[in-house]
């Protein structure tokens, strides 16, 4: 591959944009934690704090230095892997965040493993039954699922399966320190179901519409007339051409989950990174807030770049021609 391949230029631009966005995020996050009303140390410790403790915290937070220096200390720490110490517990941000990251990651992997194939299968099935009751039913359901906020879905599931109607599953995802979410898989069911419902409609709609389009094309008509079996026609001939736009939507959906996990984890008390962020916000644990926000932002930016690259790779016109924004 020569250096002048258009894809490389595109990738370079996209990476640059991503890096710029991340840098801006870090500035915005830092600035946001600076504009805490009044003194950050007092905001953390409360009104009854002794002057000595206030002074100690100010030193720990480098509040005695100019804002720009503080930002630099924080940013260089971030790159060196020194995330600072939590203000609420004596543990380091890394110690607090690592198990939460693992839990959230587990959740996302399960959601992806269940939600993506499910949505793709329903998309194909609906496209084959285009305009029949099955298609209409699933499509309208998907429209409704896309509209309802995640926390409403989550609480609705708690009401249905964990408290009022049935008592099959635990309403909260309690995990004791030192244990993993895998020790009690039951707690994963409702958070997973909520997020699957949240990601389903977008992937389903894209799969359905691109499949309908492919099924109406002439080469599929030709294959039909040649008498190729239905399942072979769908899986071998239509799917490879129809899946491309869906792959990008899958990636974009996961980028969007960077925000979605915050609310859903809070609903179920799931000990992941999103709940960690909400807790840190309530306790004004500034180093923790800063780290989790930048982490979620990095996830969002990286997944978005992957989505863009996939979009280019799977579209022959974009892959070979000069790449232009629409």
């Amino acid at each position: 591959m020569s250096l002048r391949h258009p894809l490389l230029g595109f990738l370079g631009r996209r990476l640059l944009l991503g890096a710029l966005a991340l840098l801006l995020v870090s500035i915005v996050v830092f600035a946001a934690t600076q504009i805490l009303p009044g003194d950050a140390a007092r905001a953390v410790l409360g009104r009854s704090a002794t002057p000595e403790r206030l002074e100690a915290l100010r030193l720990q937070l480098h509040l005695d230095r100019p804002a720009l220096t503080q930002y630099w200390i924080w940013l260089s720490g971030l790159f060196a892997g020194d995330l600072g110490t939590s203000l609420v517990t004596p543990q380091s941000v890394y110690q607090l965040a690592a198990p939460r990251i693992a839990n959230s990651f587990s959740l996302l992997v399960i959601v992806g493993a269940i939600g993506v194939p499910l949505a793709i299968a329903f998309g194909i099935a609906a496209a084959i039954r285009h305009n029949r009751p099955f298609d209409t039913g699933v499509s309208v359901t998907a429209l409704a699922m896309a509209a309802v906020p995640e926390f409403v879905i989550g609480i609705g599931l708690i009401i249905l399966f964990a408290t009022v109607v049935l008592h099959w599953l635990p309403p909260v995802s309690l995990v004791f320190p030192g244990h993993s979410v895998w020790d009690t898989p039951r707690i994963l069911v409702l958070p997973t179901l909520t997020l699957v419902i949240a990601v389903f409609p977008y992937i389903f709609r894209m799969m359905r519409s691109s499949m309908i389009e492919v099924l109406e094309s002439e080469y599929i008509e030709m294959a039909r007339l040649k008498g190729i079996a239905q399942h072979r026609l769908i899986l071998r001939h239509a799917l490879p051409n129809a899946i491309a736009p869906t792959v990008q939507v899958v990636a974009l959906t996961f980028a969007y989950l960077a925000g979605g996990v915050v609310v859903v984890e809070y609903v179920f008390g799931f000990p992941g990174i999103g709940q960690g962020l909400v807790n840190a916000v309530f306790t004004r644990d500034i180093p923790m807030i800063q780290f989790i926000t930048v982490l979620l932002a990095a996830f969002y930016v990286v997944v978005n770049i992957i989505a863009d690259v996939i979009a280019v790779l799977v579209t022959p016109k974009l892959r070979t021609g000069a790449w232009r924004k629409p």
């Binding site: 009401i159 408290t163 039909r224 980028a255 960077a258 609310v263």
Partner: protein
């Protein structure tokens, strides 16, 4: 074999997913909830902060939906708890869509450097994890209504701007725009009187989509505790406050949940059918 016949045009095409029927159902659902939210404060028989009984009492003749976690009348709180979410969502949607439309229109029509600058800024804005930053700002600065409106509007604007720009690029090539330019009409007047009326349709669809999304974000912020503060009645806040009493009296959670769900599903179904009608989309979502 039946599948092979799928390609024949079917006479029932009109009456299906996203057809007029579903749009009408969506409109009625949304309108019903909006009416409850707007007229509710006048219909409530009790003050939403008045204590009327012991906490989490079941429904009775005096309190139709029972009492909440502090023993307040759930029905009155439900009736009074919707208009702020609606008002903030409407304001955020209007500001976001208008702001985005102006940006997109200017970028698409002026072209050149201004377009480059605006589009690059929008690219960066779209690369931001917006909901997380919204949560960060509102939680740190405080749940001020103006801040919530601005933050949510800022989430919408870049996406709307893209839609507006794409539409403007199409319209700007039309003969009537060329004519207006030839007779020396001011650019601002061309944008306002010649182009804008012709990009209203996609903007209307955006208005609907963005409104649904605004409700979700703003109700979600209230649910997390970053909206109206206790003891204010607020659907999002009520859901969270009364979760612990689900087994005793589920109504203070169930009713707000149903209202938010019906409202968002309604606006989404309605918007979908409007999109089909004004953008001429086929039922696979493509023009």
């Amino acid at each position: 074999m039946a599948e092979a016949l799928d390609h024949a045009p079917k006479p029932v095409r009109r009456r299906r997913l996203g057809g007029r029927g579903l749009g009408a159902v969506g409109f009625m659902c949304a309108a019903a909830v909006i009416l409850v939210a707007l007229l509710g404060p006048f219909l409530a028989t009790r003050s939403p902060t008045e204590f009327v009984g012991i906490p989490f009492q079941g429904p009775s003749t005096s309190a139709w939906l029972g009492t909440d976690m502090l023993g307040r009348d759930v029905l009155s709180r439900v009736l009074c708890g919707g208009y702020e979410i609606l008002g903030l969502s409407a304001a955020a949607t209007l500001i976001g869509v208008l702001g985005g439309a102006v940006l997109g229109l200017a970028a698409g029509y002026v072209k050149g450097t201004a377009d480059e600058v605006i589009m690059r800024l929008l690219d960066v804005a779209l690369a931001f994890p917006q909901t997380i930053l919204a949560l960060l700002f509102v939680s740190l600065i405080g749940p001020e209504p103006w801040l919530i409106v601005l933050v949510v509007a800022a989430i919408h604007a870049p996406q709307v701007a893209r839609v507006a720009r794409a539409a403007t690029l199409r319209v700007a090539e039309e003969d009537f725009v060329r004519f207006a330019e030839a007779i020396g009409m001011a650019r601002s007047r061309i944008m306002l009187w010649e182009i804008f009326p012709n990009i209203v349709n996609p903007l209307l669809v955006e208005l609907g989509l963005r409104f649904t999304y605004s409700i979700a974000i703003i109700a979600g912020l209230s649910f997390l505790g970053f909206g109206q503060q206790p003891p204010a009645p607020d659907w999002g806040l009520m859901i969270n406050e009364n979760r612990i009493g689900l087994a005793a009296n589920p109504w203070p959670v169930v009713v707000p949940i149903l209202l938010i769900a019906i409202l968002t599903i309604g606006t989404n179904l309605f918007t979908e059918s409007v999109a089909r009608a004004v953008l001429g989309l086929g039922d696979n979502g493509k023009a």
